[in-house]
Point group: C3
Chain length 380, copies 3
């Protein structure tokens, strides 16, 4: 079989500290605009089946056991101990943690300890702006503090991340950047900042397209890699599957070519082949394997293989996309490793690839690429 070294999970969120009942666990299992339809359960999805396949053994149960039995065992161990077992069983050596997700979630240090791994920070640009806005009286002050905050983040964090989940009534990041990929002018930014500061409620998300573009271009200027999320979520008004197409980032990718930045495109299923295409066409564009691998469960190998059609092997990066439930981190990692082994191993068996190449590519996608792109090895 293909050897896969310890993984670098290049995008995830923290783990919930609270105990969960069957219903609250189920609600966290898959993103949805509402509760499961009458007569159905979110456990009856590839994500649910994947959790039941991979997680029970890490807690000492048989794979595929009933959800109620799994949840009982989880409560017996306690949320913290369950998280520890799940994270340590997933073969992840380093996490890049988006610290901007809402909820009672572990931060990088706590995740590192729980998972016996390294943890680095990915700073969510929208949240950075919100924090700065909370303490800035005027547009000028806001923009000055923001520049400072971006600069400071660039010194300590491993990446910026943007577009994770479009706030309600906001266009997707792809839609914003497809419409106007370039940096907004100074006056335009000042005007937008003034209007936003005047109207926003404390803690309210940035949704103004001009400010989003200003944030992104500031991040690009900082030299830190920038993660762009193709918002695939369908829970906000105006969202549509095709608004999550990473192809919408093309003009922005083109506009940032040659500036020394590295862009990592996350998400995008079922338009993931387009992300691979951009990673092939532009030297500074990278594609994420992402949450879909864990979410598609038994189909993980099939989806991964589609990404491997055009994406250069040095441009594809593993992530679990997990957040909230440590089960999602674990399943993302375990389903990915199994899928990668199956896909590359199959090509070796057919004579299409050499084993040596397969092992080398597996190591790149599993973590080597992320270590190089985010310069993790020199970090404290």
């Amino acid at each position: 079989m293909i050897e896969t070294p310890p993984l670098v999970d290049q995008y995830c969120q923290g783990v919930l500290r609270t105990e969960l009942g069957l219903g609250t666990f189920e609600a966290r299992l898959v993103p949805s605009a509402g509760p499961p339809a009458a007569g159905t359960t979110f456990f009856d999805t590839q994500a649910g089946f994947a959790v039941r396949r991979w997680c029970p053994p890490l807690l000492g149960l048989e794979p595929h056991c009933a959800p109620a039995r799994y949840l009982a065992r989880r409560r017996e161990l306690g949320a913290a101990e369950a998280a520890r077992r799940l994270l340590r069983g997933s073969g992840v050596a380093a996490y890049l943690l988006d610290t901007g997700a809402a909820g009672d979630l572990t931060g990088p240090e706590e995740l590192a300890v729980a998972g016996e791994a390294e943890a680095f920070e990915a700073v969510r640009l929208e949240l950075l702006a919100e924090h700065v806005a909370d303490t800035s009286g005027t547009a000028a002050a806001f923009l000055g503090h923001l520049a400072e905050a971006v600069h400071q983040s660039a010194a300590g964090a491993a990446a910026f991340t943007c577009g994770t989940a479009a706030p309600a009534a906001a266009p997707s990041l792809g839609a914003v950047l497809a419409f106007a990929p370039g940096p907004p002018g100074r006056g335009e930014v000042a005007g937008a900042a003034g209007r936003w500061l005047a109207r926003r409620a404390r803690g309210e998300a940035v949704r103004d397209p001009v400010l989003l573009r200003h944030l992104l271009w500031s991040a690009v200027d900082s030299g830190l890699p920038v993660q762009l999320h193709a918002a695939g979520g369908l829970d906000g008004p105006g969202q549509r599957p095709d608004r999550g197409d990473p192809g919408l980032f093309t003009e922005f990718v083109r506009a940032t070519a040659g500036l020394g930045t590295r862009l990592v495109l996350l998400g995008g299923y079922p338009y993931h082949r387009q992300a691979a295409q951009l990673a092939a066409a532009f030297p500074h564009a990278y594609a994420d394997v992402g949450a879909v691998v864990g979410r598609s469960g038994a189909r993980a190998a099939a989806v991964l293989a589609e990404l491997l059609e055009l994406a250069p092997f040095g441009k594809l990066l593993f992530s679990s996309g997990g957040g909230g439930l440590p089960e999602l981190h674990a399943v993302g990692a375990l389903a990915f490793r199994e899928a990668l082994g199956r896909v590359l191993g199959g090509w070796v068996a057919e004579g299409a690839w050499s084993r040596r190449d397969a092992d080398r590519v597996a190591a790149m996608i599993a973590g080597g690429n992320a270590r190089r792109v985010y310069r993790l090895d020199g970090r404290p």
Copy 2:
């Protein structure tokens, strides 16, 4: 192997009563804007090969026999007897029949007898409007009678169905609803009805976007499930593959959330993953397996597996999409059952799923979901 219970074919049309020659049979085999190109035949398609694989044995011939031989045997038996054998050999226990298709086709009762199955009606909204218009003098009368007709249909039928085939020069249903998802205002509807009644020829199809939306919102209000066809047909002006993307229904799906309606998205290949995505994101949205499974023949399992990536297993419904030729009903059912067994059986063999789960999911997609969504079991 995976056990699949008798199927519920949740969308099909009637069966032709007339005898068919080789040419007329071929013309019915695949949708096309014209006759086969010089030097080609519609038999040389996955649909043609699938018919030659599955149907000859049901009429006492070898699989893959030549089309001429198959047609000769079919004529020998007669259209009615051939239909009986094909339908009874397909393992379908219940049909949901769109009674709005043109041609000398069997209705629900006749199909039920021929197929030794139950048959329920799906009322085509466009046709309902046309029938009402034929007997209504004024816009006010038309709208009143229409409300009554929708109400009456809701009492007797199992579903409404809309958008099956966009009439020539009309936008696809997806294009209509993407542009304006909400219910049109009273005055707008009255105006559109008046203009349509004044100009239409008797029996002419509804193509006015305002009236289509009014029809759909009336159907939604009735509480009966509504089938939305992502028009994949390319035979009308203005049709394009991407106009058949079910993602275009997103805003309509969002607008109808929480109203108690159930929407079933049909068709959409090659954008079928988007239908699965909507079924995952919205509690009241369901996705159809559909005609593509039978039409793609040897690729049926691959297409079905793509649907099974994100669609919750309680939200995916089998249909043959057959109409005209009973061969299409039979191939849809037999190819589906084989594909489902192959896909789920493969996952069990790999250890990704338990056998118990696989059998359970097979039963849901084959018919259980349709019985629940359309409330078939309480019906007369």
Copy 3:
């Protein structure tokens, strides 16, 4: 195994006459907007792995040998001898050569000798216009000479080809035709020609949408098959993955129905299923297997199988899409043959197809369809 007769490569470009070092070879391996990213190489792609799989044995080396070793052997043999061995080892009996590609490339006769094959010409419409413009003083003279040149080409060439690579700052051919599919009016054409002639630098590419449409409609009128490239290249401003969707050709395909022309849709990945859909819907539309099969290497069979879902078997045509490196011609052919054998052979093994049908379909896609569509057998 499935028997595949000698291939007809229905779209390729000439082979470079010059010797290549490791860096220049690598730069030719995959299309890209720039050099490989730091820490990566274009050899670490499916295309690179496919070259290392298929080509070394043709030059007397082990498959999967290191790129440097392969290049050393190539230099040892010389560019001409290496090209001869690669072309003759690929099993191609006839080439359709786009003679409009830039660089020191072999023409049809030279390719025919090197490859011990027939070679036919596909005339690139944009280049024809440029040549005519170079020797025409006025718009009227230009349009007159152009009509003549199209007429003359139609007598000698096997096809017209258009849209191969959109010049910088030009919209894709699909975008042009989606916006205005019909033939432009006389006055409109004369105006556009006048403006273009007045401003163009010698040898400058046609990018005016009106002139492109005029070229295409002239080609349609000539009766010769017309190849339409869904520009998948991302190296020009304004290009986006979805601008390469062959679905954008739909209105043009519809507008040319019944005129006696045959349209062959090339490229389009990851929207290749849409090309197959058009080939199924319109009698005069054909789909290309294309460069993606060679480029996707170990995934060639998977991509080919997607094309084989809806494309009628008499409407799908092999091409390597090779140009520059003879390795691309060879890999395109060898990967295609292996993929076709694997896909069709798998269906025979499953009982989905008969062996007889599989052999027949293999012969059609490999070359029979191209011989019929381009009427190659009667040609000098």
